[in-house]
Symmetry: C2
């Protein structure tokens, strides 16, 4: 908030956009307009008195509908939880309220934050998917209705919708933000932020961690707002991932041009051909999607089994299939997959000696036509498997639709990634 | 189950004991006698057809009332959750049902598995505490109503009540059994088992892990029923812990006599005076209780904050105090406590080169008179802080009341601890 606007004026502008756009994009499961006005007036009072709770006091926010929120239902995109209320706030929601954030509503999620789409449509083209599973938070942020939204990612559920909807997406190091009261139970699951700008996104993450920490026992996100001071890395690595062969020609051209822009500033860009370790890493991450799916299947056997027992017909075909896969697995299969993931993580960690971060696409192209699928997570899944921080910045485009540039960092060094991302953003602006 | 009894006959004996004892010991929050009979008859059919689901098919079980159970309320020992139903089974409860276990009811817990006592009384003397927080599962098992009960421990909530109630208590390596749907969110929290015998206890744990694994991303419990083949260790370490100065003289005499019995079989007993590393470890674990309380306070800020906002008057004074402590902490305080715990864990792990396990008391003495406190967790907290497996075996006594011998093992080597415990149990029987 700066001095020229009050939170109430800011909210009313959000509500005007919502009035126009929401009937088409359907980003919200529930909108709490009266509650938001009430919270915002309290925030305006605090700013007038010179005592805001934080720098995000008064910011309109959306909460992905797998995250418990007092006074509002948490439907999880499933008919099994339609209208369900937990009677409490998730750790993250409580923290946002303490910081003065204004909860405008619950944003649409796919079924249990997996693949079955909700009703949301892409704000740039209503005939295209917004991506998933954090569909509503991405679409509402991309449309300018909220300053930031909470999302979750276990495969590609923050990075991909951020790319498609033209907002910033941030998935932290695994465990770095508290998932308490968020119904995503897997070992790669992360709470993250979709934001209108990089400073907004990072500030929301900092306000969260200050108040609710990380997952119990994990190193919480560390860093200050100063991490936004741009830092030029000596080298960056271009990661092709298994996605490169699936990416559109236009996307590949865009990324390569962007890399040349960065090279002109004197940053060295490493490729699989220039560094043997990078080739080893490309090989090791090539089945990130399948390995993640195996781990997720076992880890979601519960609660899917208890939901199937309750009413199997209310689970989508995709969810029923996941449960069948889980039930065909042995504990030994799961342990072998965990060990494989551990080896890939150890290998990737060695790259920190050679470069400050990795760069790649956030998705194989802009959002696809149609709403039956939320798109391909092939580029986004790598950081999920690795458990490292990732950012999608809306710096590329394809056919006048947004496309994200993805930056991937190192475990527990999220602030370093933000510094580098700030520099990349500035370098792009100067080149434009 | 052996061939001379059917599950139904076994259950009816349980129900006879319950009819006599339950009005006095109050181990159950809810008893589901009709449901148990129905489940047991199905089990009898399976045994008759030669197709039991597992070796615990038909075993009457109790579920600690912080663990979600379909069709029954999960009250968490708090007026805030009185009568609350989640509509689903926890991962552990679903696994027990799949194994054919018979859910006889929900067992009494202290408030949110912390310190505020429930109504349960010690089955050996109704004027004494059963211990806590897994009060009901320990009392019902000790009284012979159930073959085993689920418990949870973050400080001393399995080992202490097992000691007081005269049953076996098993707290696994942290993360080794799946806590999904159990409302204990802290990084030291473990799901565990209170059982009538060591084989029953271990078998229940194995049936759990085969079906529901460990906490997502953690190494699940590994081992087979063969781990029960007794293994004599070359050496065992006697750990005094900070509890030794608080233990009763009679308890200390009992433990020392027991150690001499083991020594006569040729096992070397190490003491802090005989091994410098052991002295170092004794020093490092001396503030296990305070360090655990600090970590737990921060980690339970949520959900206590959202409960306090809902209705602060429904939280006990102890819980309100914990929340005040949490809110006085900074993220940096928490991170420092985690780092300290990590150092203690690394130091303890070095002991594996010198001895097979540690031995100590499970509690400073037998259960105390009075029901206002669940007793002193000073001996039990060590394994919680260390994240390692611990067992309480009902092999000692004080004034004709049960007292547990505690065995403490090494992380991810639970099966080794069970083998050693089997040998210790046999050595005690032979000496008697």
């Amino acid at each position: 908030m700066n001095g020229t606007s009050t939170p109430r004026r800011f909210l009313e502008r959000s509500l005007e956009i919502a009035a126009t756009a929401e009937p088409d994009i359907r980003a919200f499961e529930v909108l709490d307009i009266e509650g938001a006005r009430r919270q915002t007036d309290a925030s305006s009072d605090r700013w007038r008195a010179g005592r805001p709770h934080s720098s995000i006091d008064g910011m309109p926010l959306g909460i992905k509908d797998v995250i418990e929120t007092i006074g509002l239902p948490t439907g999880m995109g499933s008919p099994l939880f339609s209208g369900w209320q937990s009677g409490r706030d998730a750790a993250s929601v409580f923290a946002l309220r303490e910081a003065g954030g204004v909860i405008l509503g619950k944003t649409v999620t796919t079924e249990f934050a997996a693949t079955e789409p909700g009703a949301t449509r892409n704000p740039w083209d209503f005939n295209r998917t917004p991506g998933g599973s954090s569909s509503g938070s991405a679409a509402a942020t991309g449309a300018g209705i909220i300053g930031a939204g909470l999302g979750t990612q276990v495969i590609g559920s923050i990075i991909r919708p951020a790319s498609y909807c033209g907002c910033v997406g941030y998935k932290p190091t695994v465990g770095a933000l508290n998932r308490g009261g968020s119904h995503d139970y897997m070992s790669q699951s992360c709470l993250g932020v979709l934001g209108a700008s990089l400073p907004d996104t990072w500030q929301v993450a900092l306000e969260l961690v200050r108040r609710s920490g990380g997952d119990p026992g994990f190193a919480p996100l560390s860093g200050t707002f100063q991490a936004l001071s741009p830092t030029r890395p000596k080298a960056l690595a271009m990661l092709e991932t298994a996605g490169w062969t699936r990416a559109s020609d236009a996307s590949k051209v865009q990324l390569n041009e962007f890399l040349r822009t960065l090279e002109r500033t004197g940053v060295r860009i490493l490729h699989r051909s220039s560094l043997p370790l990078l080739q080893e890493i490309e090989d090791a991450i090539s089945d990130s999607l399948r390995l993640s799916q195996i781990i997720n299947a076992w880890e979601s056997r519960w609660p899917l089994n208890t939901y199937a027992e309750r009413d199997k017909e209310k689970l989508s075909a995709a969810m029923q299939k996941r449960l069948v896969e889980a039930e065909s697995m042995s504990l030994a299969d799961y342990v072998a997959a965990l060990e494989k993931r551990h080896r890939v993580r150890s290998l990737y960690a060695r790259l920190a000696a050679d470069c400050g971060a990795c760069l790649t696409l956030s998705a194989p192209g802009a959002a696809l036509l149609g709403l039956a699928s939320t798109g391909d997570p092939i580029f986004a899944v790598v950081a999920s498997l690795l458990g490292v921080p990732a950012l999608s910045l809306p710096l590329l485009e394809e056919a006048r639709l947004p496309l994200g540039l993805q930056l991937i960092g190192y475990a527990r060094r999220d602030a370093d990634l933000i510094s580098i991302a700030s520099w990349v953003r500035d370098a792009a602006a100067q080149a434009a």
